[in-house]
Protein backbone atom coordinates (compact mmCIF):
# COMPACT_ATOMS: atom_id res chain seq x y z
CA UNK A 1 0.00 0.00 0.00
CA UNK A 2 1.39 3.35 -1.04
CA UNK A 3 0.52 6.14 1.31
CA UNK A 4 2.59 9.14 0.30
CA UNK A 5 5.39 9.52 2.80
CA UNK A 6 3.06 8.92 5.76
CA UNK A 7 3.94 5.28 5.96
CA UNK A 8 1.97 3.33 8.52
CA UNK A 9 4.92 1.01 8.88
CA UNK A 10 7.00 3.84 10.35
CA UNK A 11 6.56 4.27 14.09
CA UNK A 12 6.23 7.82 15.34
CA UNK A 13 9.35 9.36 16.85
CA UNK A 14 9.02 10.77 20.36
CA UNK A 15 8.99 14.57 20.22
CA UNK A 16 12.33 16.22 20.92
CA UNK A 17 10.60 18.69 23.25
CA UNK A 18 10.20 16.07 25.94
CA UNK A 19 13.57 14.40 25.42
CA UNK A 20 16.01 17.32 25.30
CA UNK A 21 15.30 18.64 28.83
CA UNK A 22 16.42 15.28 30.23
CA UNK A 23 19.77 15.59 28.42
CA UNK A 24 20.34 19.17 29.59
CA UNK A 25 19.38 18.35 33.17
CA UNK A 26 21.72 15.36 33.21
CA UNK A 27 24.63 17.35 31.77
CA UNK A 28 24.25 20.09 34.39
CA UNK A 29 23.87 17.49 37.16
CA UNK A 30 27.14 15.92 36.10
CA UNK A 31 28.93 19.27 36.23
CA UNK A 32 27.44 20.14 39.63
CA UNK A 33 28.35 16.70 40.94
CA UNK A 34 32.01 17.01 39.95
CA UNK A 35 32.15 20.43 41.65
CA UNK A 36 30.63 18.98 44.85
CA UNK A 37 33.09 16.11 44.54
CA UNK A 38 35.95 18.63 44.50
CA UNK A 39 34.75 20.29 47.70
CA UNK A 40 33.96 16.93 49.34
CA UNK A 41 37.18 15.13 48.42
CA UNK A 42 38.02 14.72 52.10
CA UNK A 43 34.86 12.63 52.58
CA UNK A 44 36.49 9.96 50.43
CA UNK A 45 39.12 9.45 53.10
CA UNK A 46 36.42 8.49 55.60
CA UNK A 47 33.59 5.94 55.85
CA UNK A 48 31.37 5.50 52.80
CA UNK A 49 28.23 6.34 54.79
CA UNK A 50 29.00 10.03 54.75
CA UNK A 51 26.31 12.66 53.98
CA UNK A 52 28.34 14.16 51.12
CA UNK A 53 29.01 10.76 49.57
CA UNK A 54 25.33 9.92 49.90
CA UNK A 55 24.48 13.18 48.11
CA UNK A 56 27.10 12.67 45.39
CA UNK A 57 25.96 9.08 44.78
CA UNK A 58 22.37 10.20 44.32
CA UNK A 59 23.29 13.04 41.97
CA UNK A 60 25.26 10.54 39.89
CA UNK A 61 22.62 7.81 40.04
CA UNK A 62 19.54 9.99 39.55
CA UNK A 63 20.48 13.43 38.24
CA UNK A 64 23.10 12.14 35.84
CA UNK A 65 22.65 8.45 35.04
CA UNK A 66 18.91 8.00 35.39
CA UNK A 67 17.88 11.34 33.88
CA UNK A 68 19.88 10.81 30.71
CA UNK A 69 18.76 7.20 30.46
CA UNK A 70 15.13 8.23 30.98
CA UNK A 71 15.49 10.87 28.27
CA UNK A 72 17.22 8.54 25.85
CA UNK A 73 14.82 5.70 26.53
CA UNK A 74 11.80 7.94 25.87
CA UNK A 75 13.40 8.75 22.54
CA UNK A 76 14.46 5.18 21.82
CA UNK A 77 11.19 3.49 22.77
CA UNK A 78 10.16 3.16 19.11
CA UNK A 79 13.51 1.57 18.26
CA UNK A 80 13.46 -0.77 21.25
CA UNK A 81 9.89 -1.91 21.57
CA UNK A 82 8.94 -1.44 17.92
CA UNK A 83 6.03 0.82 18.76
CA UNK A 84 5.39 4.47 19.64
CA UNK A 85 5.63 6.03 23.10
CA UNK A 86 2.18 5.93 24.71
CA UNK A 87 2.06 9.37 26.33
CA UNK A 88 4.11 12.52 25.98
CA UNK A 89 2.26 14.02 28.96
CA UNK A 90 3.42 11.21 31.23
CA UNK A 91 6.98 11.74 29.96
CA UNK A 92 6.72 15.45 30.88
CA UNK A 93 5.34 14.50 34.32
CA UNK A 94 8.21 12.11 34.79
CA UNK A 95 10.72 14.85 33.98
CA UNK A 96 9.14 17.55 36.14
CA UNK A 97 8.70 15.31 39.18
CA UNK A 98 12.26 13.99 38.97
CA UNK A 99 13.73 17.42 38.18
CA UNK A 100 12.15 18.88 41.32
CA UNK A 101 12.55 15.81 43.53
CA UNK A 102 16.23 15.06 42.92
CA UNK A 103 17.72 18.37 44.19
CA UNK A 104 15.41 18.36 47.24
CA UNK A 105 16.44 14.80 48.08
CA UNK A 106 20.14 15.50 47.47
CA UNK A 107 19.95 18.60 49.68
CA UNK A 108 18.43 16.42 52.43
CA UNK A 109 21.25 13.91 52.14
CA UNK A 110 23.96 16.57 51.96
CA UNK A 111 22.89 18.16 55.24
CA UNK A 112 21.76 14.77 56.50
CA UNK A 113 18.20 15.86 57.16
CA UNK A 114 16.03 12.78 56.79
CA UNK A 115 12.98 14.92 57.54
CA UNK A 116 11.04 16.80 54.87
CA UNK A 117 13.79 17.26 52.23
CA UNK A 118 14.69 13.58 51.94
CA UNK A 119 11.07 12.46 52.31
CA UNK A 120 9.60 14.91 49.78
CA UNK A 121 12.48 14.38 47.39
CA UNK A 122 12.01 10.61 47.65
CA UNK A 123 8.24 10.85 47.12
CA UNK A 124 8.62 12.99 44.01
CA UNK A 125 11.29 10.70 42.55
CA UNK A 126 9.11 7.65 43.22
CA UNK A 127 6.19 9.34 41.43
CA UNK A 128 8.46 10.22 38.50
CA UNK A 129 9.52 6.59 38.20
CA UNK A 130 5.91 5.46 38.43
CA UNK A 131 4.96 7.73 35.51
CA UNK A 132 7.82 6.24 33.50
CA UNK A 133 6.87 2.65 34.30
CA UNK A 134 3.19 3.22 33.39
CA UNK A 135 4.18 4.96 30.16
CA UNK A 136 6.53 2.16 29.21
CA UNK A 137 4.10 -0.61 30.17
CA UNK A 138 1.25 0.81 28.07
CA UNK A 139 3.64 1.49 25.15
CA UNK A 140 4.82 -2.13 25.23
CA UNK A 141 1.28 -3.53 25.51
CA UNK A 142 0.23 -1.42 22.51
CA UNK A 143 3.24 -2.36 20.35
CA UNK A 144 2.74 -5.10 17.78
CA UNK A 145 5.80 -7.16 18.58
CA UNK A 146 7.51 -8.10 21.83
CA UNK A 147 11.25 -8.53 21.55
CA UNK A 148 13.99 -9.27 24.06
CA UNK A 149 14.94 -5.58 24.27
CA UNK A 150 11.47 -4.57 25.46
CA UNK A 151 11.69 -7.20 28.22
CA UNK A 152 15.07 -5.80 29.25
CA UNK A 153 13.87 -2.21 29.54
CA UNK A 154 10.56 -3.01 31.17
CA UNK A 155 12.13 -5.30 33.77
CA UNK A 156 14.79 -2.63 34.39
CA UNK A 157 12.06 -0.05 34.98
CA UNK A 158 10.42 -2.36 37.55
CA UNK A 159 13.74 -2.74 39.38
CA UNK A 160 14.05 1.06 39.34
CA UNK A 161 10.62 1.34 40.88
CA UNK A 162 11.61 -1.11 43.59
CA UNK A 163 14.88 0.79 44.17
CA UNK A 164 13.04 4.11 44.55
CA UNK A 165 10.44 2.54 46.84
CA UNK A 166 13.06 0.86 49.01
CA UNK A 167 15.06 4.10 49.13
CA UNK A 168 12.03 5.99 50.40
CA UNK A 169 11.38 3.25 52.97
CA UNK A 170 14.95 3.64 54.22
CA UNK A 171 14.44 7.38 54.63
CA UNK A 172 11.24 6.75 56.61
CA UNK A 173 13.03 4.10 58.65
CA UNK A 174 15.31 6.84 59.99
CA UNK A 175 12.26 8.53 61.56
CA UNK A 176 10.04 5.60 62.50
CA UNK A 177 12.34 2.54 62.71
CA UNK A 178 9.75 0.11 61.36
CA UNK A 179 12.20 -2.15 59.52
CA UNK A 180 13.86 -5.01 61.45
CA UNK A 181 17.31 -3.42 61.08
CA UNK A 182 18.66 0.12 60.80
CA UNK A 183 18.62 1.76 57.33
CA UNK A 184 22.39 1.55 56.89
CA UNK A 185 22.17 -2.26 56.83
CA UNK A 186 19.82 -2.15 53.83
CA UNK A 187 22.02 0.16 51.75
CA UNK A 188 23.74 -2.69 49.84
CA UNK A 189 20.33 -4.03 48.85
CA UNK A 190 19.07 -0.61 47.69
CA UNK A 191 22.32 0.07 45.82
CA UNK A 192 22.60 -3.29 44.06
CA UNK A 193 18.98 -3.43 42.94
CA UNK A 194 19.51 0.02 41.45
CA UNK A 195 22.88 -0.63 39.84
CA UNK A 196 22.26 -4.15 38.53
CA UNK A 197 18.49 -4.21 38.14
CA UNK A 198 18.12 -0.75 36.68
CA UNK A 199 21.40 0.43 35.17
CA UNK A 200 22.97 -2.83 34.04
CA UNK A 201 19.79 -4.39 32.68
CA UNK A 202 18.83 -1.21 30.87
CA UNK A 203 22.28 -0.52 29.46
CA UNK A 204 22.53 -4.09 28.13
CA UNK A 205 18.97 -4.00 26.75
CA UNK A 206 19.53 -0.69 24.97
CA UNK A 207 23.17 -1.35 24.06
CA UNK A 208 22.38 -4.69 22.47
CA UNK A 209 20.05 -2.85 20.11
CA UNK A 210 22.06 0.29 19.46
CA UNK A 211 25.58 -1.11 19.15
CA UNK A 212 24.71 -3.37 16.14
CA UNK A 213 22.65 -0.51 14.68
CA UNK A 214 25.48 2.02 14.86
CA UNK A 215 28.17 -0.42 13.74
CA UNK A 216 25.86 -1.72 10.97
CA UNK A 217 26.51 -5.28 12.01
CA UNK A 218 24.93 -8.46 10.68
CA UNK A 219 25.21 -10.12 14.07
CA UNK A 220 21.96 -10.97 15.85
CA UNK A 221 21.66 -13.42 18.72
CA UNK A 222 18.43 -13.09 20.72
CA UNK A 223 19.07 -16.43 22.45
CA UNK A 224 22.27 -15.10 23.98
CA UNK A 225 20.46 -11.94 25.07
CA UNK A 226 17.73 -14.03 26.73
CA UNK A 227 20.42 -15.97 28.58
CA UNK A 228 22.00 -12.71 29.78
CA UNK A 229 18.56 -11.47 30.83
CA UNK A 230 17.93 -14.63 32.86
CA UNK A 231 21.36 -14.64 34.48
CA UNK A 232 21.07 -11.05 35.67
CA UNK A 233 17.53 -11.39 36.98
CA UNK A 234 17.98 -14.79 38.59
CA UNK A 235 21.25 -13.59 40.13
CA UNK A 236 19.59 -10.46 41.47
CA UNK A 237 16.57 -12.32 42.90
CA UNK A 238 18.95 -14.82 44.50
CA UNK A 239 20.93 -11.93 46.01
CA UNK A 240 17.75 -10.32 47.32
CA UNK A 241 16.52 -13.51 49.01
CA UNK A 242 19.93 -14.30 50.44
CA UNK A 243 20.43 -10.76 51.71
CA UNK A 244 17.08 -10.68 53.47
CA UNK A 245 16.86 -14.23 54.81
CA UNK A 246 20.35 -15.81 54.78
CA UNK A 247 22.71 -12.85 55.13
CA UNK A 248 25.75 -14.85 56.22
CA UNK A 249 28.16 -16.71 53.99
CA UNK A 250 29.34 -16.04 50.48
CA UNK A 251 27.50 -14.45 47.57
CA UNK A 252 29.21 -16.66 45.00
CA UNK A 253 26.06 -17.62 43.10
CA UNK A 254 24.74 -14.10 42.35
CA UNK A 255 28.26 -12.81 41.68
CA UNK A 256 28.94 -15.80 39.40
CA UNK A 257 25.67 -15.25 37.52
CA UNK A 258 26.50 -11.56 37.10
CA UNK A 259 30.02 -12.31 35.91
CA UNK A 260 28.73 -14.84 33.37
CA UNK A 261 26.15 -12.33 32.11
CA UNK A 262 28.88 -9.71 31.65
CA UNK A 263 31.15 -12.17 29.84
CA UNK A 264 28.29 -13.13 27.51
CA UNK A 265 27.48 -9.50 26.85
CA UNK A 266 31.16 -8.90 26.11
CA UNK A 267 31.00 -11.81 23.64
CA UNK A 268 27.85 -10.32 22.10
CA UNK A 269 29.57 -6.95 21.62
CA UNK A 270 32.74 -8.57 20.27
CA UNK A 271 30.76 -10.62 17.71
CA UNK A 272 28.82 -7.50 16.72
CA UNK A 273 32.09 -5.65 16.27
CA UNK A 274 33.68 -8.48 14.24
CA UNK A 275 30.70 -8.73 11.90
CA UNK A 276 30.30 -5.02 11.33
CA UNK A 277 29.89 -3.78 7.78
CA UNK A 278 31.25 -0.33 8.48
CA UNK A 279 34.96 -0.75 9.14
CA UNK A 280 35.58 2.69 10.56
CA UNK A 281 34.51 3.00 14.18
CA UNK A 282 34.05 6.52 15.52
CA UNK A 283 35.27 7.73 18.92
CA UNK A 284 31.77 7.63 20.41
CA UNK A 285 31.42 3.93 19.59
CA UNK A 286 34.97 3.21 20.76
CA UNK A 287 34.27 4.75 24.15
CA UNK A 288 30.93 2.90 24.36
CA UNK A 289 32.71 -0.39 23.69
CA UNK A 290 35.34 0.56 26.27
CA UNK A 291 32.57 0.99 28.82
CA UNK A 292 31.49 -2.60 28.17
CA UNK A 293 34.98 -3.72 29.22
CA UNK A 294 34.82 -1.38 32.19
CA UNK A 295 31.75 -3.27 33.45
CA UNK A 296 34.14 -5.91 34.73
CA UNK A 297 35.93 -3.46 37.04
CA UNK A 298 33.16 -3.28 39.68
CA UNK A 299 32.92 -7.09 39.69
CA UNK A 300 36.62 -7.31 40.50
CA UNK A 301 36.12 -4.93 43.42
CA UNK A 302 32.96 -6.75 44.47
CA UNK A 303 34.88 -10.03 44.67
CA UNK A 304 37.57 -8.20 46.65
CA UNK A 305 35.03 -6.81 49.11
CA UNK A 306 33.12 -10.04 49.66
CA UNK A 307 36.09 -12.38 49.50
CA UNK A 308 39.72 -12.32 50.36
CA UNK A 309 39.97 -8.63 51.20
CA UNK A 310 37.21 -8.73 53.79
CA UNK A 311 39.66 -8.55 56.65
CA UNK A 312 41.86 -5.95 54.97
CA UNK A 313 42.08 -2.70 56.86
CA UNK A 314 41.60 -0.82 53.58
CA UNK A 315 38.20 -2.44 53.02
CA UNK A 316 36.42 0.92 53.46
CA UNK A 317 38.52 2.36 50.64
CA UNK A 318 37.76 -0.66 48.45
CA UNK A 319 34.02 -0.14 49.03
CA UNK A 320 34.39 3.54 48.11
CA UNK A 321 36.32 2.65 44.96
CA UNK A 322 33.71 0.00 44.14
CA UNK A 323 30.96 2.64 44.19
CA UNK A 324 33.12 5.10 42.28
CA UNK A 325 33.96 2.69 39.44
CA UNK A 326 30.26 1.97 38.99
CA UNK A 327 28.95 5.53 38.75
CA UNK A 328 32.04 7.30 37.46
CA UNK A 329 33.19 4.22 35.56
CA UNK A 330 31.12 2.30 33.05
CA UNK A 331 27.86 4.20 33.60
CA UNK A 332 29.48 7.57 32.92
CA UNK A 333 31.61 6.27 30.06
CA UNK A 334 28.68 4.70 28.21
CA UNK A 335 26.72 7.91 28.73
CA UNK A 336 29.60 9.87 27.18
CA UNK A 337 29.57 7.64 24.12
CA UNK A 338 25.84 7.32 23.70
CA UNK A 339 25.09 11.02 24.33
CA UNK A 340 26.95 11.94 21.18
CA UNK A 341 25.42 9.09 19.19
CA UNK A 342 21.83 9.96 20.15
CA UNK A 343 21.63 13.68 20.99
CA UNK A 344 22.96 14.96 17.63
CA UNK A 345 20.39 12.75 15.86
CA UNK A 346 17.52 14.11 17.92
CA UNK A 347 18.60 17.69 17.23
CA UNK A 348 19.36 16.92 13.57
CA UNK A 349 15.85 15.50 13.18
CA UNK A 350 14.43 18.61 14.84
CA UNK A 351 16.36 21.08 12.65
CA UNK A 352 16.65 19.26 9.32
CA UNK A 353 13.62 16.96 9.28
CA UNK A 354 11.87 19.09 6.64
CA UNK A 355 15.07 20.19 4.93
CA UNK A 356 16.58 16.79 4.12
CA UNK A 357 16.83 16.34 0.36
CA UNK A 358 16.48 20.06 -0.36
CA UNK A 359 20.18 20.84 -0.27
CA UNK A 360 23.31 20.02 1.62
CA UNK A 361 22.81 19.46 5.32
CA UNK A 362 25.49 18.67 7.91
CA UNK A 363 25.73 15.16 9.30
CA UNK A 364 24.62 14.67 12.92
CA UNK A 365 28.24 14.12 13.94
CA UNK A 366 29.07 17.63 12.68
CA UNK A 367 26.84 19.14 15.34
CA UNK A 368 29.44 18.73 18.09
CA UNK A 369 33.18 19.22 18.31
CA UNK A 370 34.87 15.83 18.04
CA UNK A 371 38.26 17.18 19.18
CA UNK A 372 36.70 18.43 22.38
CA UNK A 373 35.06 15.05 22.78
CA UNK A 374 38.47 13.34 22.58
CA UNK A 375 40.05 15.81 25.04
CA UNK A 376 37.06 15.26 27.36
CA UNK A 377 37.53 11.48 27.23
CA UNK A 378 41.27 11.74 27.96
CA UNK A 379 40.78 14.26 30.78
CA UNK A 380 38.07 12.13 32.23
CA UNK A 381 40.05 8.92 32.26
CA UNK A 382 43.03 10.70 33.83
CA UNK A 383 40.75 11.98 36.59
CA UNK A 384 39.14 8.57 36.96
CA UNK A 385 42.44 6.74 37.48
CA UNK A 386 43.82 9.45 39.79
CA UNK A 387 40.66 9.38 41.89
CA UNK A 388 40.94 5.63 42.44
CA UNK A 389 44.59 6.10 43.44
CA UNK A 390 43.71 8.98 45.77
CA UNK A 391 40.94 7.02 47.46
CA UNK A 392 43.07 3.92 47.92
CA UNK A 393 46.02 5.91 49.26
CA UNK A 394 43.71 8.13 51.36
CA UNK A 395 45.42 11.18 49.87
CA UNK A 396 43.38 14.40 49.67
CA UNK A 397 45.94 16.10 47.41
CA UNK A 398 45.60 13.39 44.75
CA UNK A 399 41.81 13.46 45.16
CA UNK A 400 41.72 17.23 44.59
CA UNK A 401 43.95 16.85 41.56
CA UNK A 402 41.69 14.08 40.23
CA UNK A 403 38.47 16.02 40.77
CA UNK A 404 39.96 19.00 38.90
CA UNK A 405 40.33 16.71 35.88
CA UNK A 406 36.78 15.45 36.37
CA UNK A 407 35.41 19.01 36.54
CA UNK A 408 37.28 19.87 33.35
CA UNK A 409 35.82 16.84 31.58
CA UNK A 410 32.32 17.80 32.80
CA UNK A 411 32.81 21.35 31.47
CA UNK A 412 33.87 19.96 28.07
CA UNK A 413 30.95 17.54 28.05
CA UNK A 414 28.54 20.39 28.82
CA UNK A 415 30.14 22.55 26.13
CA UNK A 416 29.44 19.92 23.49
CA UNK A 417 25.93 19.15 24.76
CA UNK A 418 24.99 22.85 24.71
CA UNK A 419 26.62 23.26 21.29
CA UNK A 420 24.37 20.50 19.94
CA UNK A 421 21.26 21.81 21.71
CA UNK A 422 21.78 25.34 20.35
CA UNK A 423 22.53 24.19 16.81
CA UNK A 424 20.94 26.35 14.13
CA UNK A 425 21.08 25.71 10.38
CA UNK A 426 23.61 27.80 8.46
CA UNK A 427 22.05 30.82 6.75
CA UNK A 428 21.70 30.34 2.98
Amino acid sequence: MFAGSDNDILVKNTTHKVVLPFYLYAALSFLICTIILFFSAKAFTQHYFHPHILAITHIMALGWGSMIILGASHQLVPVLIEGSLYSTKLAYCSFILAAVGIPIMVYGFYIFDMGWPAKWGGRLVLLAVLCYVINLAVSIVKSKTKNVHSYFIFTASLWLLLTAFLGLMLVYNFSYSFLPKESLKYLPLHAHIGVIGWFLLLVIGVGSRLIPMFLISNYINPKLLWLIYLLINVGLVFFLIKFLYYPYGSYNIPIGALLLALIFFGKYCYSTYRQRIRRQVDEQMKISLLSVMMMLLPVIFLVSITGWLLADKRNVQIVLIYGFVIFFGWITVIIFGMTFKTLPFIVWNKVYHQKAGLGKTPNPKDLFNNRIFIVMALTYHSGFILFIAGTYLVDVFILNFATTYLILSAVLYNYNVIKVLLHKPAKE
Partner: protein, 107 residues
Protein backbone atom coordinates in the same frame (compact mmCIF):
# COMPACT_ATOMS: atom_id res chain seq x y z
CA UNK B 1 22.01 -1.25 -9.66
CA UNK B 2 19.48 -3.79 -8.48
CA UNK B 3 16.34 -1.67 -8.79
CA UNK B 4 13.14 -2.89 -10.47
CA UNK B 5 11.42 -0.37 -12.76
CA UNK B 6 9.00 -0.03 -15.65
CA UNK B 7 10.86 2.90 -17.22
CA UNK B 8 14.61 2.49 -17.47
CA UNK B 9 15.61 5.99 -18.54
CA UNK B 10 13.44 7.76 -15.99
CA UNK B 11 14.66 5.39 -13.31
CA UNK B 12 18.28 6.24 -14.13
CA UNK B 13 17.44 9.95 -13.75
CA UNK B 14 15.62 9.25 -10.47
CA UNK B 15 18.51 7.23 -9.05
CA UNK B 16 21.02 9.91 -10.05
CA UNK B 17 18.89 12.45 -8.18
CA UNK B 18 18.49 10.18 -5.17
CA UNK B 19 22.27 9.98 -4.78
CA UNK B 20 21.89 13.31 -2.98
CA UNK B 21 19.77 11.70 -0.23
CA UNK B 22 22.08 10.56 2.51
CA UNK B 23 21.62 8.27 5.45
CA UNK B 24 22.81 10.82 8.04
CA UNK B 25 24.32 8.22 10.35
CA UNK B 26 26.25 6.26 7.74
CA UNK B 27 27.09 9.18 5.48
CA UNK B 28 26.26 7.13 2.38
CA UNK B 29 23.45 7.82 -0.06
CA UNK B 30 20.29 5.71 -0.22
CA UNK B 31 21.10 4.43 -3.73
CA UNK B 32 24.56 3.08 -2.87
CA UNK B 33 23.17 1.68 0.36
CA UNK B 34 20.69 -0.32 -1.71
CA UNK B 35 17.63 1.04 0.09
CA UNK B 36 15.68 1.60 -3.13
CA UNK B 37 13.92 -1.59 -4.31
CA UNK B 38 11.58 -0.42 -7.03
CA UNK B 39 10.59 2.77 -8.87
CA UNK B 40 7.56 2.69 -11.14
CA UNK B 41 6.25 5.56 -13.26
CA UNK B 42 2.58 6.02 -14.10
CA UNK B 43 2.92 8.51 -16.96
CA UNK B 44 -0.81 8.81 -17.62
CA UNK B 45 -1.56 9.77 -14.03
CA UNK B 46 1.82 11.53 -13.58
CA UNK B 47 2.63 9.51 -10.49
CA UNK B 48 5.79 7.87 -9.20
CA UNK B 49 5.71 4.85 -6.92
CA UNK B 50 8.84 4.08 -4.90
CA UNK B 51 9.31 0.92 -2.88
CA UNK B 52 12.22 1.21 -0.50
CA UNK B 53 13.52 0.00 2.83
CA UNK B 54 15.63 1.22 5.75
CA UNK B 55 18.72 -0.38 7.28
CA UNK B 56 16.57 -1.18 10.30
CA UNK B 57 12.78 -1.07 10.50
CA UNK B 58 12.62 1.25 13.46
CA UNK B 59 15.31 3.62 12.29
CA UNK B 60 14.71 6.97 14.04
CA UNK B 61 15.78 8.67 10.80
CA UNK B 62 13.13 6.81 8.80
CA UNK B 63 10.80 9.77 8.37
CA UNK B 64 13.62 12.10 7.41
CA UNK B 65 14.99 9.70 4.80
CA UNK B 66 11.63 8.88 3.18
CA UNK B 67 10.69 12.56 3.29
CA UNK B 68 13.94 13.46 1.54
CA UNK B 69 13.39 10.80 -1.16
CA UNK B 70 9.91 12.21 -1.80
CA UNK B 71 11.12 15.81 -1.95
CA UNK B 72 14.03 15.02 -4.28
CA UNK B 73 11.84 13.10 -6.74
CA UNK B 74 9.15 15.78 -6.66
CA UNK B 75 11.71 18.44 -7.52
CA UNK B 76 13.36 16.28 -10.22
CA UNK B 77 10.11 15.26 -11.92
CA UNK B 78 8.10 18.43 -11.42
CA UNK B 79 4.34 18.12 -11.28
CA UNK B 80 4.53 14.41 -10.60
CA UNK B 81 3.13 13.02 -7.37
CA UNK B 82 5.44 10.71 -5.44
CA UNK B 83 4.23 7.82 -3.32
CA UNK B 84 6.59 5.91 -1.09
CA UNK B 85 6.08 2.47 0.35
CA UNK B 86 8.41 1.06 2.95
CA UNK B 87 8.95 -2.66 2.64
CA UNK B 88 10.58 -4.96 5.16
CA UNK B 89 9.39 -8.23 3.60
CA UNK B 90 12.89 -8.60 2.21
CA UNK B 91 14.94 -6.99 4.98
CA UNK B 92 17.90 -4.91 3.93
CA UNK B 93 21.27 -6.62 4.14
CA UNK B 94 24.81 -5.61 3.29
CA UNK B 95 24.72 -7.48 -0.03
CA UNK B 96 22.53 -4.72 -1.37
CA UNK B 97 25.31 -2.14 -0.91
CA UNK B 98 26.87 -1.07 -4.22
CA UNK B 99 30.55 -1.54 -4.98
CA UNK B 100 31.12 2.16 -4.40
CA UNK B 101 29.25 1.89 -1.12
CA UNK B 102 31.33 -1.14 -0.04
CA UNK B 103 34.47 0.81 -0.81
CA UNK B 104 33.20 3.78 1.21
CA UNK B 105 32.36 1.61 4.23
CA UNK B 106 35.69 -0.25 4.07
CA UNK B 107 37.72 2.97 4.14
Amino acid sequence: MNVITNKNIKCTIALAALESVMDPEIGLNVVDLGLIYQIDFDEAERKIYVTMTLTTQFCPMGESITGAVKRVLESTFTCEEVFIELSFDTPWNHERISEHGQHFLNK
